[in-house]
């Protein structure tokens, strides 16, 4: 599975949203109903899934699904 598909699977599972809503441009808070704690949890799940470390200052800049995919692709070993 591509990074994008794996990220989308995690988002669907954690936020209980339909897969069709999880587009690259979708904002976690504005479009997918997440709150700040949900984002903390999503970042933890991305770190576990991809074996990357996402520091807090980087995590704050991840606001869309696409941001997450781009960060992971740029930092994955």
């Amino acid at each position: 599975m591509s990074t994008e598909d794996r990220v989308k699977t995690i988002v669907v599972d954690h936020l209980g949203v339909e897969a069709s809503e999880v587009k690259l441009e979708a904002s976690f808070i504005d479009d997918l109903g997440a709150d700040s704690l949900d984002i903390v949890e999503l970042v933890m799940a991305f770190e576990e899934e991809f074996g990357v470390e996402i520091p807090d200052d980087a995590a704050e800049k991840i606001t869309t699904v696409g941001d997450a995919v781009a960060y992971i692709d740029a930092h994955q070993g």
Partner: protein, 419 residues
């Protein structure tokens, strides 16, 4: 004093995840006990319990009916059970479409005995294995006992008193009694009140096992293990689930044409001041709790037709409760029926008092009292008391008493009657 009536009911139990299914199975003498499926309990002191059944079971629980997927992932089972039972009670009472003014006078008092034990256990393992940065950000508010009341108030916009009782196995009864007083004292017009528990997890079974509280001798026939008043009883069988009622000020209920199940007329509370787990040897706390509830009710002792006993199936507790009932009711004991529905659904701990109050209300509604299962050889002290062995019994039921007693020596009794 403002009168308080019950206008809605909600149940999640090991014998059904709605009021009518659970009641039908209780009346049909079914048992919710079985070998534990949540984890491998082979090496535990007890390997059986009364679990809430999965959604695909004949009388299973489908969490997705009333609880968002996201919330299900974030919170412990006791909160999920509580949200669902509260939703059932709201629907039953016809209270889903409320004005802001009404919601300002509508509160929640739904507690739990233990709270999020499974999540505390599993996240502690995450902490130990993976470190603090892997603990869920939802850990705290997904385990806290007042988060049923919190979640329910957010879901339905209920802005009245937001309260949660924590008195071990008396929680459900105290929740209803306290909430009824809030209505009587004019703090609210409507309250969701009850209790929930979901502590069937390794640390829960191990902990109660080590406290020597659980039944251990019926591994091959778990449905025979919860046997209140029987000479072979050897401890309680852990149950789980939730019971929530809608309490409403009488004139408020009448004005909107609500269906009225019963009136809460008496509430008694006491402390044993004796021991953390063992009941007082003369049952004095139980006696005073019942006596206070009866006094407040204004009823005569002869008016009580049915007692839903605490009756957990522990060697000490059952006899002491029976003795206290005998001392308080005297000759009136000959005309009442008393049973323990824990024989069928196990001990729901913080949920017990609320679930059992609902069974009392259904006994009032249907003029039938639920049975005490497995009463093959009643102990000597049972002579002359109708413990409703094996089979439900049709009889006149106009007023009922429900008892709950908890660790720490905390006792609660509720008296309800038909309106």
């Amino acid at each position: 004093m403002r009168r308080v009536v019950v206008t809605g009911l909600g149940l999640v139990t090991p014998l059904g995840a709605d009021v009518e299914t659970a009641w039908k199975n209780i009346i049909a003498s079914k048992s919710g006990a079985g070998t534990i499926t949540r984890f491998d309990a082979t090496d535990f002191q007890s390997n059986y319990a009364c679990e809430v059944k999965p959604a695909d079971h004949e009388y299973g629980f489908d969490a997705s009916k009333r609880v968002d997927h996201k919330i299900q992932r974030q919170v412990d089972p006791f909160i999920v059970y509580g949200i669902d039972a509260a939703g059932q009670a709201m629907e039953d009472a016809g209270l889903l479409d409320l004005s802001e003014e009404e919601r300002l006078r509508f509160g929640c008092s739904i507690g739990s005995g233990i709270g999020g034990l499974p999540g505390i256990e599993s996240e502690s393992l995450v902490l130990a294995e993976k470190g603090p940065k892997r603990v869920s950000p939802h850990f705290v508010h997904g385990r806290l006992i007042n988060l049923i009341s919190g979640q329910v108030s957010i879901k339905y916009g209920l802005m009245g008193p937001n309260h949660a009782v924590v008195t071990a196995c008396s929680t459900g009864a105290h929740s209803i009694g306290d909430a009824a007083r809030m209505i009587a004292m004019d703090d609210a017009d409507i309250m969701l009140a009850g209790g929930a528990e979901g502590a069937i997890c390794p640390i829960g079974i191990a902990g109660f096992g080590q406290a020597r509280a659980l039944s251990t001798g019926f591994r091959d026939e778990p449905w025979r293990a919860s046997r209140p008043y029987d000479v072979d009883r050897d401890g309680f069988v852990m149950g789980e689930g939730a019971g929530v009622v809608v309490l409403e000020e009488y004139e408020h209920a009448k004005a909107r044409g609500a269906k009225i199940y019963a009136e809460v007329v008496g509430y008694g509370l006491s402390g044993d001041a004796y021991h953390v787990t063992a009941p007082h040897p003369e049952g004095s706390g139980a006696f005073r709790s019942m006596a206070m509830a009866m006094k407040k009710s204004g009823l005569d002792l002869s008016d009580i037709d049915y007692i839903n006993a605490h009756g957990t199936s522990t060697p000490l507790g059952d006899e002491l409760e029976l003795g206290a009932v005998r001392r308080l009711f005297g000759n009136n004991i000959a005309t009442l029926s008393m049973s323990s529905t824990k024989s069928a659904i196990g001990h729901l701990l913080g949920g017990a008092g609320a679930v059992e109050s609902i069974f009392c209300i259904l006994a009032l509604r249907d003029q039938i009292v639920p049975p005490t299962l497995n009463l093959d050889n009643p102990s000597e002290n049972c002579a002359g008391v109708d413990l409703v062995p094996f089979k439900a019994k049709e009889r006149s039921v106009k007023a009922v008493l429900n008892n709950s007693f908890g660790f720490g020596g905390t006792n609660a009794s509720l008296v309800m009657k038909a309106v």
